[in-house]
Symmetry: C2
Subunit: 109 residues, 2 copies
């Protein structure tokens, strides 16, 4: 995991509303409009937050047709596990260096 990926996840989790969204999705997947009502925000705002969560790989959206033919976008939570310690941060920064010069200095001798 590079530091960029790490920062994407940290930024995605670093907002109270997005924690609420994750909590609301923990038990079951919910479609966008219903999710907006449950967490008490406007739909456009929710879209913005979902975009961040999705980019971080924490949620996933699926557009489906409901039983009565209406288009519904269901959001589901992707299980994740991320341990933050000094070594994991060092590893992320090290991954940056290894991925930016993949053919020069990452020998393990």
């Amino acid at each position: 995991m590079t530091s960029e990926e790490l920062l994407t996840v940290l930024a995605a989790l670093g907002h109270p509303l997005r924690l609420q969204i994750i909590a609301a999705l923990a038990a079951e997947r919910v479609h966008v409009s219903e999710l907006a009502r449950r967490v008490g925000v406007s739909r456009p705002l929710l879209y913005m937050h979902l975009e961040r969560l999705e980019k971080a790989g924490l949620v996933e959206g699926h557009l489906e047709l409901s039983h009565d033919g209406k288009s519904m976008k269901y959001i589901e939570l992707k299980p994740f596990q991320l341990t933050l310690t000094v070594p994991t941060i060092l590893a992320a920064l090290q991954a940056d260096r290894e991925s930016e010069q993949p053919s020069s200095g990452e020998r393990s001798d």
Copy 2:
């Protein structure tokens, strides 16, 4: 851990420069001016970032006198371990509810 505490840590770690700062402090404590040079930023900017890290409890500063009598503020890294999963987020949000009404519903019977 409440969600506010969690968010403070997430926000503190959610910046590339602050990850660099943590990496620079991983091996040894460093005084402010030297740290600024090592991570390549101005001292005032570093102070701002250190403030966030300190509020999150990730680093600690100690003002000391060097052997030649000059005032030096040494920054040291506090070891930490934070595991991010859906359950830990749910627990943080639950802690909010328990701490806002400490005398009504948190009975454990």
